[in-house]
């Protein structure tokens, strides 16, 4: 039970590693962006894990209830921000991928490099 308290952080580390692996090792540009999205989501999980208080509830104050524990609102605010950053980066990345496809006819990194070297 003690150890299960760290389970969220282990999942964070593993998902983080899976995402980073995809970003670095995959040659397909869309796959890289998917990896980037996974990688960023892992960090969201880390932040949200810290906000939880045992026996707490979402930080919406209910009048007339004394002694209610609430979860920490701050990491939630930070991650709301980070989620929007994530979708913004993804959209920008995809726009560039679409243009790369039009300019090079491929979205595989090695083929793009070859095409510039031979040109």
């Amino acid at each position: 039970m003690e150890l299960l308290g760290y389970f969220n952080y282990w999942v964070f580390a593993i998902v983080f590693a899976i995402g980073l692996y995809a970003v670095i090792a995959k040659l397909n540009l869309i796959k890289k962006l998917l990896g980037l999205a996974i990688f960023q989501s892992a960090v969201f999980l880390m932040y949200i894990t810290m906000d939880k208080v045992e026996g707490g509830t979402a930080p919406i104050i209910q009048k007339g209830i004394e002694g209610q524990l609430y979860s920490n609102p701050l990491p939630q605010v930070l991650i709301l921000t980070a989620i929007v950053v994530g979708v913004s980066m993804t959209a920008m990345g995809l726009a560039i991928v679409v243009r790369i496809k039009e300019a090079y006819g491929t979205i595989e990194e090695d083929e793009i490099l070859d095409s510039d070297h031979t040109a």
């Binding site: 996974i38 939880k52 707490g56």
Partner: protein, 328 residues
């Protein structure tokens, strides 16, 4: 207890989905799995008491991101070419990194520990002071809108930047007039399919209504500008899928969308500057009204509106920029 078991189950599924996203060579499948990944993540957030974040992740991560990915896939490729083997070095380095991070977890406060430093400093102050200083129940909205309103302003500008970035990058080559402003009149969406049409038509108004509810109820329950903007955008995207790109653009032309993006950002910054002109600091809403608590509430409602308008306009502009582009 049951929460912990459920959490472990969901997180295990999360890892499996992530592996599947990376391994599958069909990009379409990968994007769909990514959507499931986001939904699982949202469910996890909900278990962890982060209702606002769960709503945002479901709307933006599972909804909008998937649609944008699909739009890009239609313009690029459906399948990934087989990556060369021999990536073991990368795998090795990253495994070491992950092991290091797992090792570091044992010194962290464990999940739900009420004595963790994060629950001792700053956060209790927010929970105590919000009812007094703002008079609204949702502390997340209070922190987002006022205490850390400057971050949220930055966030609105990130979305704004993404919107102009996508428009700028995708306007190259095709020219604004042809590629971006004239969608294919032949595209008819799913108009000829009876069931999606009927169900969709029924759904669209409710989605938009729900979006508006989330927008204006953000001070009292989970919700706010980000979520509302994303939800309304999904409603319009559903309309575009049913009735075709062109009808959606007739209803909400690009110039209106761009106006929303600009207007929302200006509204937010304008509220901040108004605080300055009335003798406070930037983004100080207390000076907006004679009663500081009412001033805070007015300020938060206004900036949340700015956030919602910009997010909705940006996401729709981005969607149209991808969807209206012709594959070549």
């Amino acid at each position: 207890m049951i929460e912990v078991v459920f959490g472990v189950f969901l997180l295990t599924l999360l890892v499996i989905t992530a592996v599947a996203v990376v391994r599958t060579e069909n990009l379409f499948v990968a994007v769909m799995l990514m959507s499931i990944f986001s939904l699982l993540m949202a469910a996890n957030f909900f278990i962890l008491d982060a209702a606002d974040v769960a709503l945002t992740e479901a709307a933006i991560g599972a909804g909008i991101t998937t649609v944008i990915f699909l739009g890009a896939l239609a313009l690029t490729a459906q399948r990934e070419k087989r990556s060369p083997n021999g990536r073991f070095a990368t795998l090795g380095v990253i495994s070491v990194l992950a092991a290091l991070m797992i090792w570091a977890t044992f010194d962290k406060p464990r999940l739900g520990d009420p004595d963790a430093p994060v629950h001792q400093h700053v956060a209790p102050w927010y929970l105590e002071q919000t009812p007094e200083l703002m008079g609204i129940p949702n502390v997340v909205t209070a922190v987002l809108g006022s205490f850390r309103g400057y971050d949220t302003l930055g966030e609105v500008f990130v979305v704004f930047a993404a919107c102009i970035g996508v428009l700028f990058v995708l306007s190259a080559g095709q020219g604004l007039d042809r590629g971006l402003f004239a969608p294919d009149p032949e595209s008819e969406g799913l108009r000829h399919h009876l069931i999606p049409k009927v169900v969709g038509r029924l759904l669209v108004p409710f989605i938009v209504l729900f979006g508006l509810y989330v927008q204006f109820h953000g001070e009292y329950g989970p919700g706010g500008g980000f979520q509302a903007g994303a939800i309304i955008a999904t409603g319009v995207i559903l309309y575009a899928l049913l009735e075709g790109e062109a009808s959606a653009l007739n209803a909400l032309p690009r110039s209106v969308l761009l106006g929303m993006v600009v207007g929302g950002a200006l509204l937010y910054t304008g509220v901040g500057v108004a605080g300055m002109l009335l003798g406070g600091n930037f983004l100080d809403y207390s000076v907006l009204m004679s009663d500081p608590v009412i001033g805070q509430q007015v300020g938060i409602v206004l900036i949340e509106a700015g956030v919602g308008i910009t997010v909705c306009g940006s996401l729709l502009s981005i969607f149209h920029a991808f969807a209206a582009r012709e594959a070549r």
